[in-house]
């Protein structure tokens, strides 16, 4: 595969699936600079992964795998090296669209962000509507284990949402 072909596939994947990547970025990174850094890190890993994509799974499944793996590893790295790279002078890739954001959605992102790095990926996949089988493939664990995790995360989110309904927090 030539570099040009690889670049074309990357551009195609970004235009079709950018929402998927941006949701993962928003779940794992909090500040604008972190979002920039993680977004770029994910795209680099996706770019590297293109030659090994064999169409054995859907593009979305592949992108979830690569993006979530990168995000989890990035979180670990980020905890240690908060200021590892100066992004202050970097050219910004992500720009806020300026559309008003639903408060409940911001609250939901905050609650997911409070979960540990692995639970965050499961919460995201559940909300994205992935089934047990897809999640097992993406995470590399058994469907029954996925089920246990999902139940726990759903309980946490529902309990927290009751507080939000009652107190607006």
């Amino acid at each position: 595969m030539t570099e040009k072909e690889q670049q074309q596939i990357l551009e195609e994947w970004i235009s079709q699936h950018k929402a998927l990547i941006l949701k993962i970025v928003k779940v794992y990174a909090f500040t604008s600079m972190d979002k920039e850094d993680l977004f770029q890190e994910i795209l680099i890993q996706v770019w590297h992964s293109i030659p090994s994509f064999r169409h054995a799974s859907a593009v979305t499944t592949w992108l979830y795998r690569i993006s979530l793996n990168t995000a989890i590893k990035w979180t670990k790295k980020e905890q240690k090296h908060k200021q590892s790279e100066a992004l202050e002078n970097a050219q910004y890739v992500l720009q806020e669209s300026g559309l008003p954001i639903d408060d409940r959605l911001s609250w939901l992102y905050e609650e997911i962000h409070k979960l540990d790095e692995i639970d965050r990926s499961i919460a995201l996949l559940v909300l994205e509507g992935c089934n047990y089988k897809e999640m097992a493939v993406i995470l590399g664990i058994s469907e029954s284990n996925v089920g246990v995790k999902i139940n726990r995360i759903k309980k946490i989110l529902i309990t927290k949402s009751k507080n939000y309904d009652d107190n607006g927090i």
Partner: protein, 197 residues
């Protein structure tokens, strides 16, 4: 709220993109990052092979041209060529083994751990490798009837190199530990059943 309501809130963002992507800036950043991102394992392997080959060739050339019969120097040459050969074999083995991991989260973690284990072993090996090379160098200098202070300087150099390599080894070990924690979390936490942590 029930979970279905949470899902509706989540889905509401699908029709309202919160970010736009500057394609040109993105392309520039990826190119810059990719150029910068060096593979540490790859680099250290190639560097070690090159250093061992060059040092062995250099010492061999000096010994041959000066018609020296210093056995320690020839032993050191053989040792360094052997090390380079061993590193080359391990590198080929590592590259060949890269394909056995799937691209799931666990597969990716297993791959990262195997790479970290490899780095830990490599740095440990190189740390212990300082001892025979150091010893052979000092014996070589002493049997070549050089002043004792030359041997002293060489000894200090190898002691510093040993501690520096110990520090490097610690970095790889800590990286591997972090990955193992993450792997255990993914493997074991689930099997312990539901909890509200």
């Amino acid at each position: 709220m029930e979970f279905e309501e949470l899902q509706q809130i989540w889905d509401s963002q699908n029709d309202r993109p919160l970010y736009v992507i500057d394609q040109k800036a993105l392309h520039n950043r990826i190119q810059t990052k990719m150029k910068r991102a060096g593979n540490i394992t790859n680099f250290s392997e190639l560097l070690l092979i090159l250093v061992n080959l060059s040092a062995a060739s250099f010492v061999l050339a000096i010994n041959v041209f000066s018609q020296s019969l210093n056995i320690y120097m020839y032993l050191m040459v053989a040792w360094m060529f052997g090390t380079a050969l061993y590193l080359l074999a391990r590198r080929m083995q590592r590259i060949k083994g890269n394909t056995r991991f799937d691209r799931s989260m666990l597969g990716d973690l297993n791959y990262a751990i195997s790479l970290a284990t490899y780095q830990v072993r490599l740095s440990q090996l190189m740390r212990w490798n300082i001892l025979p090379i150091g010893a052979l160098s000092i014996f070589g200098v002493l049997s070549g009837e050089k002043p004792i202070w030359v041997a002293g300087i060489i000894l200090i150099f190898f002691v510093v190199a040993y501690f520096a390599s110990n520090w490097e080894h610690g970095i790889y070990e800590s990286r591997k530990r972090e990955l193992k924690i993450l792997q255990d979390k993914l493997k074991n936490e689930i099997s312990q059943g539901p909890s509200m942590s």
